[in-house]
């Protein structure tokens, strides 16, 4: 199969998943207790308003037809209305989404250098001192509650030392960087161990290959073999893990944004759950899933560019 064909096939495969995801968010909403019309129109809506909502969302139709109406609205970018803010959910998400995107990308950028450094250090001498220490730190990192760490960071680096702001997002790019440093750092602590463990395993795997022996026996230095052969070959398995990590980061952002009052998707979601603003919850859940899907798709496509064997 040619690369182009593979890409088309992969895109086509994403469609059923997309439909499935929309079914999940639809069911989520259909299972909500209470009268959906009251939810949509608000408690003080008059008869005209109720009739309008009923017709627009097809709420007296059978459930299957309701789903298709939901789908039709989705395609047109209509995610319903927020009861609390009295504006379309899509507008709310458009305002909060860039903040979370910034946070996630920022976290990834901060995460990569320590991950590469630690896993290379660990893989160079398996079971050596460095490897053992990194392993213990990894176990520790997995057990740390992110919101607790975020809280302590806020107290120590924010309130006590005054190095970083403890809430908000700022106006300019550099202000964003400054405001989101602690949130990104708190999330990072959690993700680094997972990535290090995987990259280390990939590196060790590659180091036992024949071509490493071949390189060494023709007189190349260890460093040379490592840099030009082992490392590039280990990147691919880690790249696949990346999509999973983005899902982790999005989930983590929900918690961290709450602690630091960052006006992102996570904060929007938590506030909306507490305020029973169900349509925002539904819309946010959908957007979170779509983001992960896009990243997975991008990683898949990138992998085929890096390693054409995948399409075969």
């Amino acid at each position: 199969m040619s690369t182009l064909k593979y890409i088309c096939w992969r895109l086509l495969m994403a469609l059923p998943v997309l439909l499935g995801v929309s079914v999940v968010t639809f069911v989520l909403m259909a299972a909500t207790p209470g009268d959906p019309i009251r939810l949509l129109a608000g408690a003080r809506a008059d008869a005209d308003m109720i009739a309008l909502v009923r017709e627009r969302y097809g709420l007296d139709e059978p459930i299957l037809k309701q789903y298709f109406i939901y789908l039709k609205n989705l395609v047109q970018g209509d995610l319903g209305n927020s009861l609390r803010y009295r504006q379309p959910v899509a507008d709310l998400i458009a305002r909060h989404y860039p903040v979370t995107l910034f946070l996630v990308i920022y976290t990834v950028v901060l995460t990569l250098p320590p991950v590469v450094f630690l896993s290379v250090l660990s893989a160079r001498k398996p079971n050596g001192v460095a490897d053992q220490v990194i392993r213990v730190i990894g176990v520790l990192g997995l057990a740390v509650p992110v919101f607790w760490l975020a809280l302590l960071f806020a107290r120590f680096f924010g309130a006590q030392l005054g190095w970083f702001p403890v809430s908000g997002y700022g106006e300019t790019f550099s202000e964003h960087m400054w405001h989101l440093f602690l949130p990104a750092l708190s999330t990072m602590i959690w993700v680094v161990p997972i990535l290090v463990r995987n990259l280390r395993a990939a590196l060790l795997d590659e180091m036992n290959r024949d071509y490493v022996q071949a390189g060494l026996s023709k007189g190349l230095g260890r460093k040379q073999v490592f840099r030009t052969h082992v490392f590039p070959n280990s990147v691919l398995p880690t790249l696949n893990l990346f999509a999973v990590i983005v899902a982790y980061l999005l989930g983590g952002s929900v918690i961290v944004e709450t602690v630091y009052a960052v006006p992102g998707m996570g904060n929007l979601m938590v506030d909306s759950i507490l305020a029973r603003d169900y349509f925002v919850v539904q819309g946010a859940t959908l957007v979170f899933a779509l983001t992960t899907m896009l990243v997975m798709l991008a990683v898949d496509l990138l992998s085929t560019v890096i390693d054409p064997r995948i399409t075969a």
Binding site: V21, R155, A247, G251, F288, A289
Partner: protein, 262 residues
């Protein structure tokens, strides 16, 4: 490493069981004479904004944390293993169906979907367990499927088949036991995660109702006092780390003993 982890978890188990003996005061007793008291010989971990003893609350909180962690992984494991083993063993349309179900669950970030489900069902531990069962099976299903695919063409499985044993018998007696080890290793990490997410729910106000001593709620209660009375949030978090490390070490040790790549 494995023994360290096991010791730690057993110690926590003892703490949970012997909580009434170890606690120095009633975990929900309000005491307005000792509000926001720092750690002292009387209140080892200090007191919170209504004078409750943090040490006693942390001790009692162990019960809930272990309850959530140990019970919370059971249904995702059972569901995930069933789906994974059936998919891997039978292949064909069973596998196809299972994989599509997996495909549409995977894009949802774990915690986001758990939150959304809890939002619909309402706060509380039972609803957290339901959410976990609906979302957490994915990891187990993947592992079990991968094992079952290898096992179904192994000689002892084929031999059992030729001898006329039913699929159900083979799955239970031959495939399941041999597929178990990676699943158990994964489960140890999962226990840590389930405890952490459970506490996160409590922290966000969607877990058990206060004044139940629960670590996540305690951390949330200390949030506004964090710069003046750090001990309110600090000790429950520390307890959570020590418990999490126990399970993580067991998982790590098991993985090494069973030579499982993760």
């Amino acid at each position: 490493m494995f023994l360290c982890g096991l010791t730690l978890v057993v110690l926590w188990g003892i703490v949970a069981l012997a909580a009434p003996l170890l606690a120095t005061s009633d975990p929900i007793a309000i005491n307005f004479e000792a509000i926001l008291a720092p750690p002292s010989s009387e209140h080892w971990f200090g007191t919170d904004n209504v004078g409750r003893d943090i040490y006693s609350r942390v001790i009692y909180g162990t019960r809930l944390a272990l309850y959530i962690g140990l019970l919370g992984v059971i249904s995702p494991m059972v569901i995930g293993m069933t789906i994974g083993l059936l998919a891997g063993y039978f292949g064909g349309w069973v596998e196809m169906l299972a994989m599509r179900l997996l495909d549409i669950t995977v894009p949802f970030p774990f915690f986001v979907l758990v939150l959304a489900i809890v939002a619909v069902l309402g706060p509380g531990i039972e609803n957290y367990f339901i959410a976990l069962a609906m979302v957490g099976w994915v990891g187990y299903a993947r592992l079990a499927r991968a094992e079952a695919i290898v096992l179904r063409s192994q000689e002892f499985v084929l031999a059992a088949r030729t001898m006329g044993f039913s699929h159900g018998y083979i799955l239970l007696r031959h495939v399941l036991p041999n597929a178990l080890s990676p699943v158990v290793v994964y489960m140890m990490t999962d226990v840590t995660l389930v405890i952490l997410f459970g506490a996160a729910l409590g922290f966000l106000g969607m877990g058990v109702a206060p004044p139940t001593p629960e670590w996540g709620i305690m951390i949330a209660e200390g949030q506004i006092y964090v710069s003046t009375a750090w001990w309110i949030s600090f000790f429950p978090g520390l307890a959570m780390i020590l418990l999490g490390i126990g399970f993580a070490l067991i998982g790590d040790g098991l993985a090494r003993m069973l030579r499982i790549e993760r």
